[in-house]
Symmetry: C2
Subunit: 356 residues, 2 copies
C-alpha cells in the first residue's frame, strides 16, 4: 500500500555520484544546496573513494536495479515529494532509463516539478560515458526545465561545433528548437576576444581584467519565450570571465547545483526585476559564487604548493604520481567558501545577445 | 606506488550509512560537521532510500570487500590524511574488521589521530546489528579517543544495568577500567528525579522546567586522568535535560558528529577554561545544538500535523502506514537549524559527579 506523496517546497532530489574524498557529483552539489536552505535527497549513482581523474579508485557503480529499488521504496513511503530534481553523472544507459522513469513519476506527482538536467557525457572533446546514453539524454531533454551542458555536451546534443559568436547562438537556438527545453545554460565556452565583441561584450569589466590571457570563457544562457508552433522567440545572454590555467574537477557539478539552488522563483522580485531575464540573474549569482570558490581554492592550492604556480597546472608529460599530487592540491574548497556561496559578489554581469 | 599521506587539520573520515531521504548516519553527520568548517570524507556502509524504521527501504549494504577497496584506493592516492575519524553504523562483523584496520592505518600515519567511536548496536533493549559485532567493538574501544554509546550500548559493553545514580557512575568507571578509553559520553540515560538529586543536580534549571514529566534524561561524560597502573582517577559529569515524548531517528548520529566537531582542541582556551573538564564543554555545546535542532523539528512536525501532538508520538497499535506518516513528519530539521548548529545557546550546564 503506497503512501501519498505530498510535494514540499525547497526539497530537491539530486541524482549523482558519491566520492569519499574530494568534490564531484553529489559531494559538489549537496553542501552548497543545503547551505542555501534546501532539503537535499541525494540518490547515488556510484560510490567511489575519489574521482576517477586520479587514475586509481575503489568502490562500485550502482546498477539500474539498485536505483529502481531505491526509487520504488521512496515512492512506497511517500518520499517522492521533491519540488526540484537535479541529475548529473549516471554511468550507463540502463541506469539512465531508470532516472527517466523517476523524473516522469515525480512530474506525475508534481506537475510543476523543476528539473535541472546536467547531461554529463564528456568534456574537452572526450566522451566519458557509454555512447549509448546519448540518445537517452536526447529523450530526457524535452522533460527538463533547464539543461546545463558544457560546450562539448552542447555540441554533441546540437551537432553544431561551437567556435565563435555565431555558432554559439546557433547552438542555443537549435537546443530550443530540437528539444523545446525552456532554459539552457552552456556553462563555459572558450572564445577569442574578437568573438566576445561580436556578442556584445564591448566594455565589460571582464575584458579589462583579462590582460594575462587572450581567451575568455563565456557562460551563455537562453530562455524560450514562444509557444510551440509560434515563431521561435528567445532571450539569450552571456557572462564573460577570465579563463584559469588550472583545471578543477567538479566545477560543473557545483555550477549546476547553484543554478538549481538559485533557479528563478516566480514569487521572487529579485529575479523578475532583472533587466535581461530571471535566468540571467540565476546565472550571475551562480557564476559569482563559483568564482569565489575557485579563488579560495586557487589560493589554498598555491599555499600547499608553496607558491609554485607551475605545480597546480596540468603539464605535458606529467607522471601518474605528479597528477595525483596535483589533483589532491586542487580539490575544491567548498566547506571553506560558505560566505561565497551565501553572499556572492556579482562582478561579472550578463550581457544580452542581439541574436542571429 | 603509494602516495605519501600528509595529515590535514579539521579533516574527518566519517564511516556511516547513507540514506537518500531523511537523517541518519552520514546524512546526520556530514552537514553539521561541514557547517562547522570540517572537510568531511564520508565513507558509506550502506546506501538506502530511507532509514529502516520505515519498514520498507530500497538499496543495499556495502560488504567488507567494498570498504576494503575504498580504503586501499584512498591510501594509494595519499588521501588517508584525516586528523579525526568518526565511526557509526557498520552492518556486519566483516565490514567492522575492515574499519578496525582502517583506523589502525590512520593512526600509523597520524599518531595523534582523534577517533570518536559510536558503537552503534541497538537501543532501548533491542540489538539491531549482528551479535558478532559486539566482540569487535570491544576490541575497537581501546583504540578510541572517545566513545559515545547510548545507555543500552553502555550496558552491553560494561555488563552493568544502568538504573540509578550508582550504576551510571559504575558503568563509566568500568568503561575506563575495561577499555582504557580516555573519554566516554553516554548520550542519554532516563532517570527518575530522585536519582538526579543524588548525582548533584540540586537546583539545576533543567529540573524546574520538567513539570510535565517525572523523568529526565542525563547525558553523562567522563575523562580518564590516571595513567595505566595508577589508581583510577577520572573527572565525570552529567547534563540533565527534559525527556521528549516523540521519538526522533538519527539524533544519536547528530550527537556523535557534534561531539567530534567540537572535540576539545588543546590550543583552544574555551575548552581548557571549563570549570569541570574540556569534554564537559564539548558536550554542553553538542547538547545545546541538539536541543535547538529538536525544538525546530518538533515545531515543524506539529505544523505538518496541524497541531495534533498525538500524531507525532509513537502509539500502541500504530499501523505500518501510520508509522511511515509519523516518521516522515519527524525527520530532523538539520538544514533549517544552521544557527543552532553554529551558535548553540547553552541552557543545560554540566554538573560534576562526586564519584562513587
Amino acid at each position: 500500500m503506497a503512501q501519498a506523496n505530498v510535494t514540499q517546497e525547497k526539497r530537491i532530489l539530486s541524482i549523482q555520484s558519491h566520492v569519499v574524498c574530494g568534490y564531484v557529483g553529489n559531494k559538489s552539489a549537496s553542501f552548497p544546496l543545503q547551505l542555501l536552505g534546501w532539503e537535499v535527497d541525494a540518490a547515488l549513482t556510484v560510490s567511489f573513494s575519489n574521482h576517477t581523474g586520479y587514475g586509481r579508485w575503489g568502490g562500485s557503480k550502482f546498477d539500474a536495479a539498485h536505483l529502481e529499488d531505491v526509487f520504488s521504496a521512496l515512492d512506497a513511503n511517500g518520499l517522492l515529494r521533491q519540488s526540484h530534481v537535479l541529475t548529473g553523472y549516471v554511468p550507463g544507459a540502463d541506469a539512465l532509463k531508470v532516472v527517466v522513469r523517476a523524473v516522469d513519476r515525480l512530474r506525475a506527482i508534481n506537475p510543476s516539478l523543476v528539473y535541472i538536467l546536467d547531461p554529463v557525457m564528456g568534456d574537452d572533446g572526450r566522451i566519458y560515458v557509454s555512447e549509448s546514453v546519448i540518445p537517452i539524454y536526447k529523450a530526457l531533454l524535452p522533460r527538463a526545465t533547464c539543461a546545463t551542458p558544457n560546450y562539448f555536451e552542447a555540441e554533441l546534443l546540437t551537432d553544431i561545433k561551437i567556435l565563435d559568436a555565431t555558432s554559439l547562438q546557433l547552438a542555443l537556438r537549435t537546443f530550443h528548437e530540437r528539444y523545446r527545453t525552456p532554459n539552457i545554460v552552456v556553462s563555459a565556452v572558450s572564445l577569442p576576444l574578437s568573438e566576445l565583441v561580436k556578442l556584445g561584450f564591448v566594455d565589460a569589466p571582464a575584458l579589462s581584467t583579462s590582460s594575462s590571457t587572450s581567451r575568455m570563457l563565456v557562460c551563455a544562457g537562453s530562455t524560450l519565450l514562444s509557444a510551440p508552433g509560434e515563431p521561435l522567440k528567445t532571450t539569450s545572454f552571456g557572462i564573460a570571465f577570465p579563463e584559469l590555467a588550472e583545471h578543477y574537477e567538479g566545477v560543473g557539478d557545483v555550477f549546476s547545483a547553484l543554478v538549481a539552488g538559485r533557479f528563478p522563483s516566480a514569487s521572487d522580485p529579485a529575479f523578475s526585476d532583472h533587466p535581461i531575464s530571471p535566468l540571467a540573474r540565476t546565472v550571475e549569482l551562480a557564476i559569482a559564487s563559483l568564482q569565489g570558490i575557485l579563488a579560495k581554492t586557487r589560493q589554498h592550492a598555491l599555499s600547499l604548493a608553496k607558491g609554485r604556480a607551475d605545480l597546480i597546472v596540468p603539464r605535458e608529460g606529467e607522471s601518474a604520481e605528479e597528477r595525483v599530487r596535483r589533483l589532491r592540491t586542487v580539490e575544491l574548497r567548498l566547506v571553506q567558501s560558505q560566505h561565497e556561496i551565501l553572499n556572492p559578489d556579482v562582478k561579472y554581469r550578463a550581457v544580452r545577445f542581439s541574436g542571429i
